[in-house]
């Protein structure tokens, strides 16, 4: 079979125009499918950036909260109640909100503000410049050096600006694992200073961050928090809740599905049509091979090999092209969200193999129907 497959390979790749058209079709389809799903995954991952950056094991919140960006204030007694819950090692408050910063040139910039527990500074970012204890200095804020950092005029230690008409001094710069979804620069300060500077409704605790004594305590903590009328989720559960919201309640999931289906059919029509034309143009050759003594099974093997070789090569090109494109985009736009995951790659591979199977099926049917007698008739 090895020699026959080599024959099939040469018949395929030596027809350069057709082979190129086939590769372009498959590469386009896999590029588009991976790219669309990578953008979607990027958006979903960044929607949970706060959860990832803070890193708490459990989050207590109002049951109506769907995403980390849309917190609902919790009364202080919930914090006390959680702290006295069996199985809780410690629990601290977290403030998340937005504020308007007036820059030195007089322009305003919306900013995300995170207020860390004054005592423990739990969830603090990794420092780049300055000391973590400088956050206690008068009007002290840390700024995160991420893709949105320049929107605050790239401040350094000692820079000053106004935040909701309060003086704000940068006492350090920090970095986090992931920038926010909405393109806002991020400031860190203490919880008390955050609720003092930013106008708030009646309840000021956005989330209670909980560290259980052991993983086995998590179900009990959840139960007791539920008895209070609130919701306790692990980090992964909170991220999944956010992903579910974006997929099923914003239309993003439907759009992704539609785009993927369109891409699949475009890829199928380009590759399927080209491969079928390739088979039709070589029908006489397949007929000659049949007359010379090639068995039907061997002809089917040749066609499947040609289709699969094209599909996998095109898929590889699509993956490479997509990776290159995202890499170049991230060089230019550091906050670019697209993320390729193994699931993206697997999904695209399955789609490409379906295209391959459909294209082969049509070709195989046609080739099996050839009568070598036609070859004698000329």
């Amino acid at each position: 079979m090895k020699g026959i497959l080599k024959l099939a390979y040469k018949l395929l790749v030596n027809d350069k125009a057709k082979f190129t058209a086939l590769l372009v079709g498959i590469a386009f389809a896999s590029f588009s499918m991976i790219f669309i799903s990578a953008m979607f995954v990027g958006v979903l991952r960044h929607s949970s950036s706060t959860v990832i950056n803070i890193g708490a094991t459990m989050w207590v919140m109002d049951p109506a909260v769907q995403t980390p960006a849309n917190s609902i204030g919790i009364p202080d007694y919930v914090l006390d109640a959680v702290r006295s819950t069996q199985g809780v090692a410690y629990a601290v408050p977290l403030y998340t909100g937005t504020a308007l910063v007036k820059l030195a040139d007089g322009t305003y910039q919306a900013t995300s503000v995170i207020g860390l527990d004054d005592t423990s500074l739990f969830g603090r970012p990794e420092m780049v410049n300055g000391k973590i204890t400088d956050i206690y200095a008068e009007n002290g804020f840390f700024v995160v050096q991420d893709a949105d950092y320049s929107k605050l005029g790239s401040p350094h230690v000692g820079s000053e600006f106004q935040l909701n008409d309060h003086r704000c001094v940068i006492v350090g710069t920090a970095k986090v694992a992931m920038s926010s979804l909405f393109g806002l620069p991020t400031l860190y300060t203490t919880y008390e200073r955050a609720i003092q500077y930013i106008p708030n409704p009646r309840y000021t605790v956005s989330y209670v961050l909980v560290e259980p004594k052991s993983p086995s305590d998590i179900p009990k903590i959840k139960q007791q928090v539920a008895a209070l009328g609130y919701l306790a989720l692990t980090k992964d559960e909170f991220m999944q809740r956010s992903i579910t919201f974006y997929i099923f309640q914003t239309g993003m999931g439907t759009n992704l599905l539609i785009m993927t289906v369109i891409t699949f059919f475009v890829g199928l029509s380009i590759s399927g049509q080209t491969f079928y034309t390739f088979i039709l143009e070589n029908l006489e050759r397949f007929g000659a091979l049949k007359a010379l003594g090639t068995k039907d099974g061997e002809l089917v093997g040749m066609i499947l090999f040609q289709a699969t070789f094209t599909a996998l090569t095109g898929y590889g090109l699509g993956v490479g092209l997509c990776t290159l494109f995202i890499y170049l985009a991230k060089l230019r736009l550091p906050s670019y969200f697209a993320t390729i995951t193994y699931t993206n790659l697997l999904l695209a591979l399955v789609m490409v193999l379906i295209i391959d199977a459909v294209s082969s099926y049509a070709g195989v049917r046609r080739v099996l129907r050839i009568e070598p007698f036609e070859i004698f008739r000329g």
Binding site: A291, E371, I375
Partner: protein
């Protein structure tokens, strides 16, 4: 005593159904021995190509038998029939049916590749056969770069490389000018026909009759006459 290469009897073949039925073969009997070069001649539509297809295991007859080198080929299933064609028969098609995407040596090597001979060995053997048919140094060229006569020689080399017992040639001179056709068939007669090989040729071309051992005349689906030749 010559050995029997082909013994066909009572061959009938029709196309279409009921009222639209066309009879292509009307009870043909044919005998050929090894060492013979048999010509089947006759006007267009007389059934020559149909007979050739039935004899070579490509077109199933509606009735009759074909014994080729002792094997009743139409009792074989499709896989064994393909095996039989691969190992016992060599084909030279009217339009050559060379593969334009393969070079000349690869074209010639196809029967060996189908027999699972290693690629490099098959190519070496193909180069040797190209040498035999007078195409030394043309192995790497695509067939389309060769003249009609050279392409026919490539087709002959491809048919011969598997050392078939029976060589089937369909209108071997149809795509060639008169002189080239004459040279090619003379080459086949002098270099390929031997006591262990039978060659069956379908042709219209009376200029090559001189090379036949026997000429069978076909008309309207029947063999209407046989002419023994001294050649």
């Amino acid at each position: 005593m010559p050995r029997t290469a082909i013994d066909a009897s009572g061959l009938q073949k029709w196309f279409g159904e009921e009222d639209a039925r066309t009879l292509a073969l009307r009870g043909v009997d044919l005998h050929a021995d090894f060492g013979e070069m048999i010509y089947i001649v006759g006007p267009s539509g007389s059934g020559k190509t149909t007979l050739l297809s039935v004899l070579s295991g490509i077109l199933r007859p509606n009735s009759g038998h074909v014994l080729a080198d002792g094997t009743d080929i139409w009792t074989l299933d499709s896989n064994h029939l393909a095996e039989f064609r691969l190992h016992k028969l060599g084909f030279v098609f009217q339009d050559f049916h060379l593969f334009p995407r393969l070079n000349t040596a690869e074209n010639v090597a196809i029967p060996l590749i189908l027999r699972k001979v290693p690629w490099d060995t098959a190519i070496q053997e193909a180069i040797h056969y190209l040498d035999i048919v007078g195409l030394k140094g043309r192995a790497d060229l695509p067939p389309m770069k060769l003249s009609g006569g050279e392409q026919q020689r490539v087709a002959i080399a491809r048919a011969m490389i598997g050392k078939p017992d029976i060589l089937i040639m369909d209108e071997p001179t149809a795509s060639l000018d008169g002189d080239t056709g004459h040279v090619i068939v003379k080459f086949v007669r002098e270099n390929i026909l031997d006591a262990n090989r039978c060659i069956v040729v379908v042709t219209h071309d009376s200029r090559i009759y001189e090379f036949a051992s026997r000429i069978l005349k076909m008309e309207d689906g029947r063999i209407t006459g046989t002419q023994e030749r001294a050649a």
